[in-house]
Symmetry: C2
Subunit: 333 residues, 2 copies
DNA sequence: TTACCCCTGGCGGATTTCCGCAGGCCAGAA
DNA sequence: TTCTGGCCTGCGGAAATCCGCCAGGGGTAA
């Protein structure tokens, strides 16, 4: 486990690392540390792949329950009809194939923590039972008649704002307030691009037999510039794939094309913003300039054929004609 | 004088070099070589700084008159009231201060060539006299009574299309036809960017005591990308300035900012075209995308103040509000 | 408390834009 | 020679856009 000083902020507990130097994540680590003595329910909000599971582990292992079980449940991955029994167990003979009693995941987490990922996908019919379990701190197995005490700390994760689901009647408001005692928003990777170099280095080191290889400057810039729609999971997978094929220093050419090449749309937006902000052009001037150039390009490609040019541009011939007249672009201007 | 093989085309005559590897210039050199035995009047057309004077020298020194005088006249640089006497001389007592007779530049060019630069600036009142001299092959000094024979080859240069001036009555049609026997259009440097590396190397070598220094790749790319509105003259001056201050290899940081940094407008146009061509977006989608982003940027800069944002964008508040509604951009989306 | 300035929303009129329709022309195929 | 398909132009109606006007609210200074 590498420990880095000065500008970095690495908390390593129980071989779990939250690697960051960005302010958004530092703030979250601070909040987690400040409630480590607490038993409060925590709701982690963030996009797929941002590392909610890792954060949940960190929370558990820095809490007073760190020596006790930590049960992770991906709710979205469980078949809906098995969900109840998986979570709460079932009594003997509860249904045809229930030849024996079964402990649920909540029982297994007794005295420890349970992490319910994708709580936004939780069936609303089970929400009332979950709420009862949380409030009474005991559960009734499916088909059972005996209340079984459970002492668990609840950590949940959602990829959307549960308030929206509450407003749409898809999530119980009372359950929401119960699990949202401490909300933590995990930012997407594109909002903490400053962490990308650390994470890249971390995963390259993780997957390389000889320690993290060096990265060319332009390759690093491309990695930082990329928006990482798949967040840390995508970054991790990308680094794993790179270490399989790259030799020595990581070059720009070692990166997959969607990272290596700047997205044309992003490039355009950046250029337009820069032109508008620096080029002293008004909104209309920028839009007009864009339209003119797109039209010119299409006419060139269509060798002056206006009908074809209109089709290229995805507009009506009449519309193109009107624009040609408006901008005084009669021929292949 | 360096001679380069293979891909290059360097004609060196009498310590004059036309350095090029681009097709447009090669074509011109071929035309010049093919008329070297001719005495035809040549009209060079091209922007300021493209090297018309150098081309004129080359023409003279590859012609049969190469051993005879070559007189260069920048017509725009001469005071209009002295123009006639400079070109055609004057007799003794032609005017108060004319204490002696004076040969004009045409006489000095006898048996050789005369190069009249900026012929587009030539006063229309002198155009008839010039025409008479060219047709009769003799001249009358200002205030003189004796016809003096002159045998000169005429090379003229213009930075505009003289036909336009003829159409507007600013240039005599008969004179135009007389001097336009062989028109040669010298392309601007931006239309033969392939020559930039050669020219950069040439001038760096010219101005460096220790031979041409090496250039970093990104610096060379910036030099090629630059549009060189001042053409070769600007390139020459830039290289001279660089060799004064740069040490060793020429880096991107050694270049002046207008070359080092890509012009925002050009960048935008390039990016927009690429986005449209590669990004599989329709005209409307591109325009919409641009508008949304410009609006978002303005709102961000105005911290949500729509009146301010409208002013930033240079549009009416009502217009901005209509667009916000159209694009469903309610808050700082 | 009052006055002033600025922002925002609602709304409607004028102008611009989009585009469909009809007709003519041209080139190529039957 | 006729027919067909495509392109282009003129033109007018519907829809969209631009923006001015009015009213209300909030903040600040006198």
């Amino acid at each position: 486990m590498r420990e880095i000083r000065c500008a970095l902020h690495v908390q390593s507990v129980h071989s779990i690392s939250l690697i960051t130097q960005s302010e958004p994540m530092r703030s979250i680590v601070s909040q987690i540390d400040s409630i480590s003595a607490s038993d409060s329910s925590i709701l982690l909000i963030g996009e797929t792949g941002v590392g909610k599971e890792l954060v949940a582990e960190y929370i558990h292992h820095t809490s007073v329950r760190s020596g006790n079980p930590f049960i992770k449940v991906g709710l979205a991955a469980l078949p809906p009809d098995l969900l109840e029994t998986e979570l709460f167990g079932h009594a003997k003979g509860a249904y045809t194939s229930a030849v024996g009693e079964k402990k649920g995941l909540f029982e297994l987490a007794h005295t420890g923590s349970i992490f319910l990922d994708d709580i936004d996908d939780f069936p609303i019919l089970l929400q009332s039972k979950l709420l009862r379990v949380l409030e009474s701190r005991e559960l009734m197995r499916v088909g059972g008649t005996v209340a079984i005490p459970v002492d668990v700390r609840l950590i949940t994760a959602s990829k959307v704002d549960l308030k929206d689901l509450v407003n749409r009647g898809l999530f119980r408001a009372d359950l929401f307030y119960r699990i949202n005692v401490v909300p933590l928003v995990i930012p997407p990777l594109r909002e903490r691009a400053g962490d990308v170099p650390l994470l890249v280095n971390h995963f390259l080191g993780r997957f390389s037999a000889n320690g993290a290889p060096e990265i060319a400057d332009d390759a690093l810039r491309a990695l930082v510039r990329y928006s990482w729609p798949g967040n840390i999971r995508e970054l991790r997978n990308t680094m794993q794939r790179i270490t399989l094929f790259a030799r020595g220093k990581i070059a720009l050419s070692d990166l997959p094309p969607e990272i290596r090449e700047e997205n044309p749309l992003e490039l355009m937006i950046k250029a337009c913003n820069r032109c508008f902000a620096e080029g002293k052009m008004s909104f209309d001037e920028v839009v007009t300039c864009l339209e003119k150039n797109l039209i010119r390009g299409a006419l060139k490609e269509a060798t002056g054929n206006r009908s074809h040019a209109a089709r290229i541009l995805g507009m009506n011939l009449s519309t193109l004609r009107d624009k040609l007249k408006k901008y005084n672009l009669p021929d292949e201007a």
